[in-house]
């Protein structure tokens, strides 16, 4: 007998809604939720079945038995593992206070559990991976709108022109979003793609700017200049809702399209054509402000400039533009009850300095990499316990060797994950979480023009001795005597507790997998957006007082990116649609599809180095060497080399991924603390490498 379970994917952070057909304890079929995605699912989504059957994942709690990273593990019961962690935490809290414990996650809609645990302990040190991802975009957005990066959603389907600065939207692959872009193109819309190389997204573009690496800010400034000069901005909107336009106009005076074209290495005419085109299409033009912009030293300002371009288009709260995400409150429904809101806010200063030393940063999750500084220097205080939930800092942040050096000053490292992370392999305890088809999750809110509540439901029983997050954190909380903040004994009780103020019940999720809070898209009155921008002035700020208070410019004069030293290339990384960073590289089916990454290198540059397609090449940074196959192409800028992130894993129990391909973060030596001071993002593309044909290429055949 087959049963239908409405759930959420967990292969990557997009968490697409899914429908699963189960027969007994076997998954017969899974597809994207037909109500929301028309059945669509990506390769990763289908390969969830292979993840479930994969034995190369932690199968019970493990406690380290040798040195850190030695790979000697003692399998233990959950009781033993929780007690072990509890004893260690007791000692740390006794000696250094609760603030010496930090917890990190990958963000997402389920953070309430993790925040509650760390705050319940009495520590303010909740963090996530975002300083190696979207912090620059987030802080840029806060500085312009007073709203974070999720402060707008993009109505791409109804837009006339989508402009992507390196946002490889078809490889990063949010299914609903990718379909919106294709619908827009089917309707005759334009797609402008800016990157240092051609990508899966760029091949669908109507216009492609292959720019010199690190010049996105110049291009955005040239666009601002051209749009203002052409009088093509939405004057009414700018007058009504912004401050600092005159300063902006005089600031961009020298940054003409001709200048920008020269700086970026593109044709001025092409840029001018672009400006005329968007001038006619406004306000249905969306400049995507970037997603993963921990890249260059001026990425924060590049993102700010892109946010400003959107404002000039006047695309806010118009069909085909940027829309305010609506929540339960907009539908006359109370929001979900939050576990974290019952916990007294820890008074302590954060160990990463965010909120007191760095006042211009969002102190919600702070900045993970700055905790390493605190571990090394014990300033402002020691950090001795690190819990990472579904987050692998060694795969995420630069220079794992430098990270290990800092972590050697800690007394407890805990990894809670469905698979062996590189951090997990180095940690003291691994608590295996049930993979997403084997677990329930707490109810989450999805904001949008039509907001909804969604939930992940367990489709099959765990194959191994693993547990879901809601239970793991409950067990930890009970052991640490903070069980009162987790007022439930089962997931059903927790759902009921969360949903109580909303007036909805978990039964309403049957049949669709979600509860829609609005039948029709909700739009605010565009002529009355007062109060929607949460900046100090209540306006969209081209000039930010908050930045000025931190001693930072709102409009930073452009500086040309450092030229690669002779014989060097800038190392750029990106994504493939078949992998979710390092999470899926060991998945049997996805590994079969893409077992290793390659190094994209420009044809002329390769010829000079005697490198041909498929040759093994050594990629050499200041302290590390990676060896992979070269992909020789004319469609990458000669100053850059490119690879897909997530490979070169070194967990021996992941036999398929072990040492397959090359890890870009291991080549980013010395970059762990190289932060954009204005945006908080790490400068991950400010890394130079040399490339040579590897001696590992066979020269002769000596066998018969």
């Amino acid at each position: 007998m087959s049963e239908t379970v409405w759930s959420m994917c967990g292969m990557c952070s997009v968490r697409c809604p899914i429908k699963v057909e189960v027969d007994g304890n076997r998954i017969k079929w899974l597809e994207g939720n037909p109500h929301l995605l028309g059945g669509a699912l990506c390769a990763k989504g289908s390969a969830g079945v292979a993840l479930r059957n994969d034995r190369e994942r932690p199968q019970q709690p493990l406690i380290r038995d040798g040195g850190r990273g030695a790979g000697k593990w003692e399998p233990v019961s959950w009781d033993t593992a929780i007690e072990y962690i509890g004893e260690k935490l007791d000692i740390i809290i006794d000696r250094y206070g609760a603030r010496a414990v930090m917890l990190s996650c990958r963000g997402g809609p389920f953070m309430d559990l993790f925040k509650t645990f760390i705050h319940g302990l009495g520590s303010p040190n909740f963090t996530n991976h975002d300083s190696a991802c979207g912090r620059n975009v987030h802080h840029a957005s806060l500085s312009v709108y007073g709203l974070g990066r999720k402060g707008f959603i993009y109505d791409i389907k109804n837009s006339k022109h989508l402009v992507l600065f390196g946002r490889n939207i078809f490889a990063s692959l949010r299914i609903a979003e990718a379909n919106q872009v294709l619908d827009m193109l089917d309707n005759g819309g334009s797609l402008t793609y800016v990157d240092v190389r051609q990508s899966l997204t760029g091949i669908k573009a109507t216009r492609f700017f292959q720019v010199r690496p690190g010049t996105d800010y110049a291009l955005a400034l040239g666009m601002i200049n051209g749009i203002i000069k052409a009088d093509a901005y939405d004057k009414e909107f700018v007058d009504r809702y912004t401050t600092g336009f005159n300063q902006l106009a005089s600031f961009v005076e020298p940054y003409t399209p001709e200048w920008a074209a020269k700086e970026c290495g593109i044709k001025a005419k092409k840029l001018k054509d672009f400006i005329s085109e968007v001038s006619e299409q406004a306000p249905q033009v969306i400049f995507h402000p970037g997603w993963m912009l921990s890249r260059y030293r001026d990425s924060f300002y590049a993102s700010r400039a892109i946010h400003i371009l959107n404002v000039l288009m006047g695309n806010i709260e118009v069909k085909g533009g940027q829309l305010f995400p609506k929540g339960p409150g907009d539908c006359g429904v109370k929001g979900l009850r939050s576990l974290d809101s019952q916990v007294p806010k820890p008074e302590e200063k954060r160990a990463d300095g965010v909120g007191w030393k760095y006042r211009h940063f969002d102190k919600g999750p702070g900045l993970f990499h700055l905790f390493y500084d605190a571990m090394l220097t014990e300033d402002p205080y020691p950090v001795k316990g690190v819990i990472c939930y579904r987050h692998d800092p060694f795969n995420c942040f630069p220079d794992p060797a430098a990270q290990k050096e800092a972590l050697d000053n800690t007394d407890l490292l805990v990894s809670i994950d469905t698979h062996y992370s590189e951090f997990g392999w180095y940690s003291d305890v691994i608590l295996p979480e049930s993979m997403y088809l084997e677990r329930d999750s707490i109810v989450a809110t999805q904001k949008g023009p039509k907001p909804r509540f969604i939930v992940r439901r367990k489709a099959v029983d765990p194959k191994f001795d693993t547990k879901p997050a809601w239970e793991i954190f409950k067990l930890l909380a009970d052991r640490m005597n903070i069980g009162q903040y987790f007022p439930y004994n089962s997931i059903e009780e927790l759902w009921q507790w969360q949903l109580e103020p909303t007036g909805h019940t978990i039964e309403e999720f049957e049949g669709k997998g979600f509860v829609s809070l609005a039948d029709e898209p909700i739009m605010y009155d565009r002529d009355n957006l007062d109060g929607k921008f949460k900046t100090p002035s209540g306006k969209i700020e081209f000039i930010s007082q908050k930045l000025a208070d931190a001693g930072l410019a709102s409009l930073k004069p452009y500086e040309s990116p450092r030229k690669a030293p002779k014989g060097n290339f800038r190392l750029i990384f990106g994504r493939s649609p078949v992998h979710a960073h390092g999470h899926t590289v060991n998945n049997p089916l996805l590994n079969e599809l893409m077992p290793e990454n390659s190094l994209w290198i420009n044809k002329r540059a390769a010829a000079k180095l005697g490198i041909s397609e498929g040759d093994l090449v050594d990629v050499i940074s200041a302290s590390s060497i990676g060896t992979i196959k070269a992909h020789v192409t004319e469609f990458i800028h000669p100053e850059a080399v490119y690879t897909v992130h997530g490979f070169g894993r070194q967990v021996p129990l992941q036999s398929r991924a072990y040492h397959a391909g090359m890890s870009d973060q291991k080549l980013q030596s010395g970059k762990l603390m190289d932060m954009d001071p204005a945006g908080g993002g790490l400068c991950l593309c400010e890394v130079f490498v040399t490339v040579r044909r590897s001696t590992k290429n066979p020269k002769r055949r000596v066998e018969l």
Binding site: W29, L30, E31, G32, G38, G39, A40, L41, C42, A43, G45, S46, A47, V49, A50, F170, L173, I175, A178, N179, L182, L185, D186, Q198, L200, G202, I203, K204, A205, T206, R207, F208, K270, P577, V578, P588, L589, L590, E592, L593, T633, F635
Partner: protein, 151 residues
Amino acid sequence: MNKYLIYLNAKRCIGCHGCEIHCKVNKNLPVGPYLCEISHEPLVAVKGVPKTEFHFRSCYHCEDPYCVPICPKNAMIKREDGIVYIDEEKCIGCMACAGACPWGIPQYNPETGKAVKCDYCKDRVDMGLKPACVTKCTTHALKFVTMQEVN
């Protein structure tokens, strides 16, 4: 006459290879055989934009398939509606079908020791559903069409 066809709207295909995995998971295939594949030509600049298009290939379900008569166990069968499929009970895994096929379409399944190939997910089709690759195509680029529709 063949009734069915899988058609790829190359304009919507983004080369995510989802179809290949949807197929493998539905057919419970191990590492090794792929019953459909996405491929592309090298990039060529068109009006300043380096472009390529993706191609989808599964079994062609030939009108007069070479794989059917070559099978020593009569395990390769062409249905009335044109679908060419393998009767797994009869198949002995000799792979004569793959040798006879001009494109080497039938694959060896190392787990069952038998041949396996695209049968348009005939079990699903017989239930009024579409093949796995089409149903779950990430961008709705793959279409399952009947010949009447094309006419």
